[in-house]
């Protein structure tokens, strides 16, 4: 089993160059104003920025270079997602770049890779993965779409919920129960028997859809079952942890700057211990989140025996850290952060959404303990 479905690792200097280009792109085109505009737009994401990300070669982040992907492993993906989280990127990097491209890369279906990955990489097609039911647990048990075979053809029935960029996607990879096992199916955006309902989301930067299948025609992606799905989810967990670590650090930095400039009682409020002590405790969370996300990415990239525990640790530690830091940020700013125009609530919304996406903290805390127990026995 290869540790890296995307081929040879990108060397250190090239990774640094990619990170720098992405960071600069977000600095130039991913401002808060742009994020707000995109999140309120009809498309629900920043199509212009997504084109630029595609032009940088990062749209199919987790896909191999031979199919036009970025060939990024967990470490590079994590670091790019830190930058994306810091900027509250309003584009389908996780949906299309990590989940969909990653699931195809992890599949055994060479024909599907050759056919589907290049248009995902060029940004011509936006892809996403529908992989949880209405309970929103992101576990195998929670998959409620059923695939039925008739001859060589498959049809899907059931509901997929919380599908990120589900209404925007040109290509849907749908995880379904097929003859007892989980399998992945390709469904065209205009497939008959599929109804996509765009959902109003709490985090306006992360559009979601509920998708109902009633005999929708689907094609099986070979070798994209439970194992490939779990590998893809691990990658997505690390990516999301990176996004959370990056978001936590940015909203923390914004808060510290405010503490230095906001004057009350004749002095900067950052001089009050009530706030200094909160800040010191939050710094522990911010740094721990970064260490957890990066540690998990490294372990996954190395195929280390610790990877399972570390990915689960990152999943809840980063979720909790971002939630805590973003919530405290609003409180520490005071009234100004209770306004719509202040960015603090954008981070709070993203933090709360990210903390549920792919499964909640308690779920991952339990998985972490189980992984430690398994290692312990």
């Amino acid at each position: 089993m290869t540790a890296n479905p995307v081929g040879a690792p990108i060397d250190h200097e090239d990774q640094a160059a990619i990170r720098e280009s992405f960071r600069r792109l977000l600095a130039d085109h991913g401002s808060e104003v742009a994020v707000r505009r995109a999140s309120e737009s009809d498309t629900g994401y920043d199509t212009g920025l997504w084109r630029r990300i595609s032009a940088l070669g990062l749209a199919a982040l987790a896909a191999p270079v031979e199919h036009g992907g970025a060939g990024a492993g967990p470490v590079l993906i994590e670091s790019l997602m830190e930058a994306a989280g810091a900027a509250l990127l309003c584009a389908p990097l996780l949906s299309s770049g990590v989940l969909a491209a990653g699931l195809l890369a992890n599949s055994a279906d060479e024909a599907a890779k050759a056919r589907l990955l290049p248009p995902i990489a060029s940004g011509e097609r936006l892809a996403t993965v529908a992989l949880t039911g209405e309970r929103g647990l992101w576990t195998p048990d929670d998959v409620t779409v059923v695939a039925v075979r008739s001859g060589d053809a498959w049809r899907l029935d059931g509901v997929a919920a919380f599908v990120t960029h589900g209404a925007q996607a040109d290509l849907l990879l749908v995880v379904a129960r097929a003859e007892g096992d989980l399998q992945t199916f390709e469904v065209a955006a205009d497939a008959a028997g599929m109804r996509r309902e765009s959902l109003k989301t709490f985090d306006r930067t992360q559009p979601m859809a509920r998708i109902t299948f009633e005999g929708a025609p689907a094609s099986l992606i070979a070798g994209a079952g439970a194992h490939a799905l779990e590998r893809t989810l691990d990658l997505a967990r690390v990516a999301l942890a990176g996004e959370q670590a990056g978001g936590a650090r940015r909203v923390f930095d914004v808060t510290i700057d405010y503490l230095k400039t906001r004057i009350q009682f004749g002095r900067p409020i950052g001089g009050f211990q009530a706030l200094k002590h909160m800040a010191a405790d939050l710094l522990v969370e911010v740094e721990s989140a970064a260490s957890a996300a990066r540690g998990a990415a490294e372990a996954l990239e190395d195929g280390s025996a610790e990877a399972e525990a570390l990915v689960n640790l990152a999943a809840f530690a980063c979720a909790d850290a971002f939630s805590q830091v973003a919530a405290a940020s609003v409180q520490m700013h005071g009234g100004i952060a209770f306004t719509w125009d202040h960015p603090a609530h954008l981070y709070l919304r993203r933090a709360r959404a990210d903390a549920e996406l792919l499964g909640g903290s308690d779920h991952y805390r339990e998985r972490y303990l189980s992984a430690l127990e398994a290692a312990h026995v």
Binding site: A279, A280, L313, E373, H376
Partner: protein, 335 residues
């Protein structure tokens, strides 16, 4: 010779000898601030790791506010006479020297009237009394000093510049504590010092979801700190500096208190008992008390938060009512 030893040279020799934190503090301080005579006499022995010594900083009236020390040093025949009381001194019974902070100018502001001395401990006028701690152990001492003599050449640094010496020594102590906090990353709980999962399993509590939640969190805190320290080492290797070790002590406080809390939760009513017949309870109860050594000792968590906020985050310094006053007018003196 010894006066040519740079901090890097001292560090290299200490590393080569795998010196402990106390030896490191003392060697760096003597190398940086000792007189030529003291360096000649002590450095070779110190670098070989051979001098027991103690830190005479804290006093009953100068804990978090260390610059308020009231132990006095007065010029006398042959050097300085010291009078005062120190506390929380580990190793005082066996120490040959104490690194002592004393006031030499009562008319200067608090930080500017202090001097640091290398005090010979084995003399009349130095009375060491063990202090019984909340755990029942006697690790620390009180040190009563009544006219003890310090030879003139045992002054460290300049007269009235003892705060600088102390800051340097504390810096080396914190580096040591950061390193102490950096345990190997636990791949399984097997290398946690407290094997919480085994305890929960042994007590039949491992299936309890509330216990599982607490267990996971306690183990996670320890592993997150280990990951932070891994990053600190990588940052120091790459750029020579890292702010992460400063977070280690605060993180370790919550780890140790957290371990004790989850052990107690696992034991339940069994933690009412104590003693060698009840080793699990004794262990949990001991840890619950001993954790305060980390959250109070070496700067309380609250002082540590001030330091992080001020030195790492650049937030404004704490107001200090007596910072600019002649020390004799401070409430530390007049009450």
């Amino acid at each position: 010779m010894s006066d040519d030893l740079s901090p890097t040279d001292v560090q290299a020799q200490l590393d080569a000898n795998a010196a402990d934190t106390m030896t490191r503090i003392f060697a760096h301080t003597v190398a940086a601030f000792g007189t030529e005579a003291v360096k000649q006499a002590l450095l070779p022995r110190l670098l070989a790791g051979g001098i027991p010594f103690c830190l005479l900083y804290s006093e009953p009236g100068a804990g978090s506010d260390l610059a308020s020390v009231r132990t006095r040093a007065e010029r006398a025949e042959g050097g300085w006479r010291i009078t005062g009381q120190k506390v929380w001194t580990s190793g005082a019974q066996t120490a040959e020297f104490g690194l002592l902070l004393a006031r030499t100018d009562w008319d200067a502001p608090k930080h500017k009237g202090l001097s640091a001395f290398l005090t010979p401990m084995r003399q009349a006028g130095v009375d060491v009394r063990p202090l019984c701690q909340i755990t029942g152990e006697r690790h620390f001492n009180e040190v009563f000093i009544d006219g003890a003599l310090v030879p003139a050449d045992h002054l460290l640094g300049q007269v009235n510049e003892g705060w600088k010496v102390l800051q340097s020594a504390l810096g080396y102590e914190r580096v040591g504590m950061g390193a102490g906090a950096s345990e190997r990353r636990p791949g399984s709980v097997g290398d946690n010092r407290v094997d919480l999962i085994a305890l929960a399993h042994g007590r039949g509590r491992l299936a309890d979801p509330l216990i599982r939640h607490q267990l996971a969190q306690a183990i996670a805190w320890r592993q997150l700190n280990a990951l932070n320290m891994d990053r600190a080492r990588a940052e120091i290797t790459a750029s020579g500096a890292s702010s992460l070790p400063s977070l280690g002590k605060l993180a370790m406080s919550r780890i140790l208190h957290g371990d004790a809390r989850v052990m107690t939760a696992i034991l339940g009513a069994a933690s009412l008992l104590d003693g060698p017949e009840q080793p699990d309870a004794e262990d949990a109860n001991y840890r619950a008390l001993h954790a305060y050594m980390t959250s109070i000792g070496g700067g309380t968590d609250q002082i540590q938060r001030n330091i992080i906020a001020e030195r790492i985050l650049g937030l404004p310094r704490e107001h200090e009512a007596d910072r600019e006053l002649p020390f004799r007018e401070s409430r530390a003196v007049i009450g």
